[in-house]
Symmetry: C2
Subunit: 343 residues, 2 copies
């Protein structure tokens, strides 16, 4: 059986269409939320999420800090769910992000935050979920039913919804244009051939993924996907963090997958590529102008955050092919259910 | 050559003494800072750190959210250093944490934050460093010169300084007592025999470390230490996060090191231990009452955050022994210098 007929592959292929349809579904909810944000002007955003959604939260942190200029904190949900402590969150914006809207710890955090006077927003694919009920606002991700256990289209759709939120909030013309073009760009990214990556990774037992700025959330998501579906021990790092210790792991032929952002962080990442190449690592580099290592094809640069999402779309399809090479069924990750409930 | 004579081993052995001496060194600086905190009462704390110091920041996040009730954000230093964006941080407390005080990205973030009206504090072992100069307040960690490249005593001393900060801030009698007893407890923890762990890990190529609440920062630090000194691919997770995907990695005999906190998070962690045991994982469990897996000896429970630090002290000494079993020189991690400068 080939993974090309898997639920995961069908989800990935549906993503561009889903993201296109999302515009309409989100419009009204976004308008109301942004009106409120302008009136209350919160000075802090707190994201609350687990798993793939936590990587969407990493993406949101970068987006909001970069374009809105507000600090973003990632919640430790246990503060509410285990320690029963309510934080001082009056007037702050809380984004609770969850595909299923069903994790008890996120619900507890959102409820505590609402009780403390925060403006609470559920970003979820299930608008009838307990998380949606616990929040004042709901942003429907609109990805439709996801049959694959490992999230892909809900991740991209969630990240796209967060991009739309920031876009509506700051009305940056480049962002607006990028959001409009995102479905077409995702479709183009689906056609890029990353088989060089699946070739290398089918002979690996562990690897590092490295990103920075808009690609940090993407490489975290990539690492989780390789763990879940292909039993590949993959850890994600920011380019800067990798130098503060983990680089000690690098040996000759050590495989590293790098997502180079199409913005000011590219220069440092390319310097890192050269350094890692000199140490003999096997580099898989998604970049518009890779000069060392194995170059993975990417779309021409347009707008950094949307470009980062397109890298992930190409990556997801590579995972399908990698599953075939490894002879694993990517629809059956061991020990996992579609909805993970944690306290 | 045995690692027992290494710089790293001597640093670890000096730690209890260093932490005892720190009380005096920090007293005045802490008093002035706490006076200011009471006057200005910031509603957000932002930590800014890399490497081991970032794990101390994780510990600080838990401490501050749990005992002070303020949300804590971990800064992405690139926002200032790469993207030149100044965040809205007026009146917020920024804790820039760095052993050497020499990383350009942290200095850039602290300078931007100070310019934006934040109350900036350098928590550093080098009070004459550029980071200390960039901040309004300096909390001297007082660890003395650290000769080992992999940080150990500066990590514990930094975490202890952050514990003292929260202690002075909230004046909780249990915390005060725990801080007072910490040097003696660290000395006792140094004598616990974790050789069962070094035995198992000397036959492993990769593992996961899992903690929650006060032990999350500790298992992150533990994972980095195993990467740096023993070339062991080790990734750290929160107990809840592990269930959202990474658990797919677990196979029979997969090694997992768990630090069980001595607080309300213990119940969930023990449930996780039972589940992982049922899946056939090889569990190394630091807990007062481990019922499955291999039990590592720990001190009787006293106060959760101080107890968590004691686990790490026992762990560090285990790493020295593990280095001997593996025949590696733990003072010579590949590709690393004592001071890592990143932009």
């Amino acid at each position: 059986m080939s993974n090309r007929q898997s639920s995961m592959a069908r989800d990935i292929e549906a993503t561009p269409r889903i993201v296109a349809r999302q515009a309409l579904e989100l419009e009204e909810a976004l308008e109301r939320l942004v009106r409120r944000l302008r009136r209350e002007s919160p000075d802090l955003v707190v994201t609350c999420a687990r798993g793939s959604s936590a990587h969407a939260a990493t993406f949101a942190k970068h987006l909001i800090e970069r374009y809105v200029g507000l600090p973003v904190a990632e919640a430790a949900p246990s503060i509410a769910s285990v320690y029963q402590r309510t934080l001082r969150l009056s007037g702050k914006l809380v984004l609770a992000i969850s595909q299923s809207g069903n994790s008890d710890d996120l619900i507890a955090f959102a409820s505590h935050a609402k009780g403390a006077g925060a403006l609470t927003v559920a970003v979820t694919n299930e608008t009838a979920s307990p998380l949606a009920a616990a929040c004042e606002f709901v942003l429907p991700v609109g990805a439709g039913p996801e049959r694959s256990i490992a999230a892909t289209k809900t991740f991209v759709a969630t990240a796209a919804a967060l991009l739309r939120l920031v876009c509506a909030w700051v009305e940056d013309p480049n962002l607006l244009n990028a959001v409009r073009r995102l479905p077409d760009r995702l479709a183009l990214a689906s056609r890029l051939d990353w088989s060089r990556a699946s070739e290398v990774l089918s002979n690996s037992t562990r690897l590092a993924t490295i990103g920075r700025g808009p690609t940090l959330g993407m490489v975290r998501e990539a690492a989780l996907k390789l763990k879940e579906t292909c039993n590949l021990h993959t850890e994600a790092f920011s380019g800067a963090e990798f130098l503060h210790g983990p680089i000690a792991l690098v040996r000759r032929n050590y495989p590293i997958l790098l997502f180079i952002p199409t913005d000011a962080a590219a220069a440092g990442m390319r310097q890192l590529c050269s350094d890692l190449d000199a140490k003999g690592a096997t580099l898989l580099i998604a970049d518009t102008i890779a000069t060392v290592g194995i170059a993975l094809p990417v779309l021409p640069a347009e707008q950094p955050e949307a470009d980062a999402l397109c890298l992930l779309q190409s990556f997801y399809l590579m995972v399908v092919a990698l599953g075939d090479r490894l002879g694993v069924d990517i629809d059956k990750p061991p020990h996992l259910q579609k909805i993970t409930r944690t306290t």
